[in-house]
Structures are given as C-alpha cells and as structure tokens.
C-alpha cells in the first residue's frame, strides 16, 4: 500500500486537484472548469482522479484551498482548509526552494508573494478591482473571436502592441473596441492587452514590492505566453513558468494536509453522495446575514454566514 494525499483547489473559474505521495510526486492530476458549481466540479474531479490511481494507493488526508475551500472542505471532511496565498507559497517552494517572487494571476484575483528562505515575508492581493485577471482576458478573447488558449500565441505575432487603457475592465473594453474600429490589427490589440494586464498588475498589486529573482509566474493566466513575455520585458528578468504552474495551489494544500498529521482514510465514493446547499437571508435582525446551510444526504452538516447568535441553528 502506498500512502497518498489529496489536494483540491477550487477557484472561481477552474477546479484543480492532485494526489501526491510522501515524496511530493504527483500520482494523479486534473484541471477542469468550475462552471459556477463547485460541488459538481469536485465530484467530477474526484471521478477523474480515481481513474488515474491504482488500487494500491490509499488517500490518507485531504486539503482544500481556493475561494470554495470552506464549502468543499466541509463536504470532504478535509484535514487542512487554507487560503490560497499560503497554499501557493508552500506548493511553489516544494518545486523551487529558492524562489524569491511569486507572481500569480488567477480567474478573479491576482497576487504577489515575496519569499525569503522558503517563507512568505510579504504579499499583496488585488482588493477593489479585478481588472487584468483571467476572467477579464477570457471575456476580451471572446469579444475578439479568439479562443482563450490561442490568445498568447496570437500576441507573439505582433511587432507593435496597441496601447490599451486597462485601469478599469469596462473602460478597457471600450478602448479596445475603439482601437479595433479605427483600424488597429487584431494581433496588436491582443499584444497590447497582455501588456496592459502586466502594467496594471505591477502598478497595483506589485506596487512597492521588491521583485527579485528567481521569479515564478503561475495561475491560469501564466498559460498565456503573451503575458509571460510582457512580464519579462517589463521586469527585465527571466520569468519561470512551470508546466504544473496551475497546480501549485492544490500541491501546496496537499502538502499541508500531509503535514497536519491528522489522518483519515478518504473514500472516493463521496462523489456519489448527495450534497445540497441552501442559502437564505436570516431576517432575525436588520443585518439580514446570508446564511448557507450544507446538507449531506439531507442531513445538515454545517452552516455559516451568521454575524450573531440569532442566526445560529
């Protein structure tokens, strides 16, 4: 029997999962779309992971991260439920122990993590605005009629990127339409967008942070070679993109689950159970907290969202 650990990262756009063993080797991995239904996404994910594992492997601990970490963690009875910043830092250092800067752009958030000697010493995350994140790029790709996976290679064709005002997603879109209407070429616009994403990131999230090498770029947007190139041009240093860059979060949380030393045999059949969530406004005081209740096979297993005891069940 081989001991293994499951890490799941449920983000706004995609759901990622890995199974690792005691020496951090990836035994199974999967990346799929969340499509607004984290529970179904995780069930599909478990199904896929299970087929990749042989019967000899026993999952001993589970960790969850990403924006749906609490919901999914509750359902899977996870040993570790952690935020994505910590998970990414741990995951990345397991592959790049000397990393100093982690640039991460995901579906709806972007962050910068500054590391020193394998620990996080500073970080920042976008707060008020999501301009320049993955969902922005994918909606612009749609508008231009390009598949999001081809976006990067398209950008590389350009020799003179168009300047796009990307401070705000909505205005960026009007600027982009405007530039297209006055005759800028599509590849120039695409390259301009990649540049704009990078400038926006460095001016907001990266503001005041010392970016030192080695630099690792990850998150869904790191698959876009146009953005990676734009980063290298802007920073003037080499930017490493790992082929597993999209899995760093779940890798990190799998490691944290293993290090938690709380072990419990994990049963993949959980994917066949019925999970339901019910959301409602409490209405017991004027806070009107939005309370979420989670049911497993019609039995209430947890609830959250209440600010005061009035909303306690």
């Amino acid at each position: 029997m081989e001991r293994a650990y499951l890490g799941i990262d449920v983000g706004s756009i995609s759901t990622k999962g890995v199974v690792i063993n005691d020496s951090n080797n990836i035994l199974a991995e999967k990346y799929l779309w969340t499509e607004g239904n984290p529970i179904q996404a995780v069930k599909n994910l478990l199904n896929e992971l299970k087929t990749q594992l042989n019967d000899n492997i026993k999952v001993k601990a589970v960790g969850t991260t990403g924006s749906a970490r609490k919901l999914v963690g509750t359902i899977l009875n996870a040993q570790a439920i952690k935020n994505e910043i910590t998970a990414h830092a741990i995951g990345t250092t397991s592959l790049y122990p000397y990393v100093k800067t982690i640039l991460e752009i995901g579906g709806q958030d972007s962050k910068i993590i500054i590391m020193d000697d394998g620990i996080v010493v500073d970080y920042a995350m976008n707060t008020l605005c999501a301009a320049g994140t993955g969902s922005f790029l994918s909606s612009q790709a749609k508008r231009l009629g390009i598949e999001v996976d081809e976006f990067g290679t398209y950008a590389l064709k350009s020799s003179s990127p168009t300047k796009i005002a990307a401070r705000c997603t909505v205005f960026a879109e009007s600027d982009l339409v405007h530039k297209a209407q006055i005759g800028h070429k599509k590849e120039d616009i695409v390259a301009g967008l990649c540049k704009a994403v990078v400038n926006n990131y460095l001016n907001n999230v990266g503001k005041g942070k010392k970016i030192r090498v080695p630099i690792v770029f990850q998150g869904g947007v790191s698959k876009n070679i146009g953005v990676t190139k734009a980063f290298e041009e802007s920073i003037g240093e080499k930017v490493i993109v790992d082929e597993h860059g999209h899995l760093m979060g779940c890798l990190g949380i799998a490691i944290l689950a293993r290090d938690s030393k709380c072990e419990q045999d994990f049963d993949f059949n959980i994917k066949d159970m019925k999970f339901e969530t019910k959301g409602y406004e409490c209405e017991k005081c004027s806070n009107n907290c939005e309370i979420i209740k989670v049911y497993r096979n019609e039995e209430l297993i947890d609830y959250w969202g209440n600010k005061c005891d009035n909303g306690a069940q």
Binding site: T86, I119, V120, D122, M125, L128, G208, N287
Partner: protein
C-alpha cells in the same frame, strides 16, 4: 409651546455611552439613539450619499436617517481636517432635501472650545449653568478614559480567554452600568469594580504570542462594523491587538499634538500630511521599534491623508522588516476577501516567527 427635543448622533464604537451621558446630564432632553449599525444602516446611507464619498459619511447618514425615522429632531455632528470637515453641511442638506425636519449642531473637534459649546447647548437647555456644564464636561472626559482603558485591556487579552464569551458578557454589563452615571463618584466605583473583574477573567496568554498593531483612519479604526470586525477576527486567531487611536487619544492626549507626532515620525516625515496621517506613520514606527510582529493599516476607500502615508509605511516596513497589510473599506467591501487576506497574514506571521525562533536557537 416648546417642542420636546429628541437628540441623536451617529454611532462610533461604544462612544454613544459617554455622549449619551453627557447629553442627558446637560441638556435635560431625551436621547434618541440610532439603532446599532447593521447592513441596513449602510444601505440607507449609501443610497442617499454621493457614491465616491468616504464610507464614514455613508454610515453617519444611515444613522441619522434611522434616528429621524425613530423620532429624533436634533442631530449632532463633528468635523475634522479632511473631507470630514464637509460632512455636516452636506449631510444636513441631504437630509433636508429628503424632507426631514430637525435642528443640526456642528461641533468641530479641531477647534476644541468648551465655552463655545456651552452657548450652543444653552440654546437647547436655557436652564443649563456653566458650573453644571463644566462638571459634565469633566465627567465625560473621565468616562471616556475609563471606557478606553477597559477596551485596551480587552483588545490585548480577548484572543486568549479560556471560556468563550467571558469578555463580551462582562463588557455588556460594564456598558449597562457606565451609561447610568451622574457623578464622578459613581464613575470611580465602576472603574475600580470592573478593573478588578477584568483581571479575574481567566486567560491563557503565552509570553511570545503574536502581536499586531492597527493604524489608519480614525472612523474605521473605532467602528468595528466598518472594518468587518477586523479586531475580533484577529482575536479569534489568538493575536494580541494594539491600537493607539481612540477618543481619549484624539481629544485629550498631549501626544496627539502635531509637534509631538511629527517628532515621533522622524526621519520619515517633516511636514503634516493631513488629518491623522502623521499619527499612522508615527505609530507604525513605534510598533516596529517595539518589535510587533505585524501592522495592519486600514482606511476608507479614497481617504487622502491615509493614502499619503502609505508610501512612507512601505519604507518603514522595509527598514524594520515588519510586514504591513493594507485594507480599504467601502460600502462594497467583501467580507470574504478580508477574511482570506487576514488568514494569509496570520499564516505569514506564524511562519516568520517560527523562522526567527530557529535562527535565534542557532546563533
């Protein structure tokens, strides 16, 4: 025929207690406290405020509307050295346009002149004597000091209480008694009683616990609802919280004088940067020097004085190797986002501490 006055004022933390006591002891009028701040307050305030105004304006306006709906007819507002200075005129105008009928008093904290207030208060209560006014003034000053001292102790220890809810229950009792006082004598006995009770609450506080200082704009610092209960969240993680800004500090302390804070903020600042920006810089430096594990800087979205001080805080963070986390609060702030960032901040502080410990053992 005279109208019966029902006086109201905006909420900020627990300061409704001294203000209510003061009004009761001087004005011989009824107090109409606005309901506690809830999401509804903020929604009401946001609906009738300019969208880009700083968030305390929206909370205040929401408080006024809820109070007026409950029958208040006299409203009090203060003012300060930033956009806060325009609050009262604009809010009065908005409320009048909404069709409410009320008297509006503006007490500006930058020109702190008790005698001027005496004239104002006399307008409402002609029977008010100068002696009574000054006595009440002294009483509120002492009362605020007692309240702030109580809260400081809680902030430092609530994260370590052994029985959940002990401090909260005691605080509630304390507030209920504090609001009833009329004489200095009453205040003294309450102060002694509750200082003792506070010390009796069982806590389990390690010597090397994580310590975090909070600096920033005064309203979001003092009204917990507006910062998504940041201090409570930190306490839940077992962190000692230090905050210099409170009303005692702002109105009565000598340290708050600009010359003093500027001296503390050296060499980072030579000039005033507006409102309480200098305090944020000075306190961050003090916290860094005292070896705190981290600093959290909070402000309403668009708060210019606090934006001014942020690049300087980054310098302090670099010089003293102390991490600083920044938050901007608005009517649109997502609580989940705040929690995620706090969680990551906590993890980071723990990892740093662990590493420093190992380093010390090695050397």
């Amino acid at each position: 025929m005279s109208v019966e006055y029902k006086i109201s004022f905006p909420h900020m933390g627990n300061y409704y207690i001294p203000i209510a006591t003061f009004v009761k002891n001087t004005l011989n009028a009824k107090i109409c406290l606005p309901p506690k701040i809830t999401k509804k307050t903020l929604e009401l305030g946001t609906k009738h405020s300019p969208d880009f105004v700083c968030v305390p304006f929206k909370y205040n306006l929401g408080n006024y509307i809820e109070a007026l709906e409950n029958g208040a007819n006299v409203l009090i507002q203060a003012g300060g050295g930033c956009r806060f200075g325009y609050y009262s005129e604009v809010q009065e105008e908005i409320l009048r346009n909404l069709g409410y009928n009320f008297k509006f008093f503006n007490i500006t904290s930058r020109t702190f002149k008790p005698l001027l207030y005496y004239k104002m208060f006399k307008e409402i209560n002609p029977m008010l004597t100068i002696k009574n006014f000054l006595y009440s003034f002294y009483l509120i000053y002492k009362q605020i000091a007692v309240l702030d001292k109580f809260e400081d102790y809680i902030r430092e220890n609530i994260g370590f209480q052994i029985n959940d809810g002990d401090f909260k229950r005691l605080e509630k009792k304390f507030h209920d008694e504090l609001i009833t006082i009329e004489k200095i004598k009453d205040l003294k006995s309450i102060s002694i009683k509750y200082t003792k009770l506070l010390k009796e609450v069982p806590i389990n506080k390690p010597n090397d616990c994580l310590r975090v200082g909070i600096v920033g704009e005064i309203y979001v610092l003092m009204e917990p609802f507006s910062s998504c209960f940041l201090e409570e969240e930190l306490a839940k993680k077992g962190i000692e919280v230090k905050r210099y800004i409170n009303i005692s500090y702002l109105l009565f302390s000598k340290e708050h004088k600009k010359t003093n804070t500027l001296k503390l903020a050296k060499p980072y600042l030579q000039y005033n940067i507006g409102a309480d920006g200098v305090d944020s810089v000075a306190h961050s430096k003090v916290l860094a020097k005292k070896g705190f594990d981290g600093i959290i800087h909070i402000k309403p979205f668009g708060c210019t004085p606090e934006i001014n001080c942020m690049p300087i805080l980054e310098k302090i963070s670099e010089d003293y190797k102390i991490p600083i986390l920044y938050f901007s609060f608005d009517s649109q702030t997502s609580e989940t986002g705040v929690k995620t960032r706090l969680e990551a901040f906590h993890d980071m502080l723990l990892m740093r501490k662990e590493k420093n410990k190992k380093w010390k053992e090695l050397t």
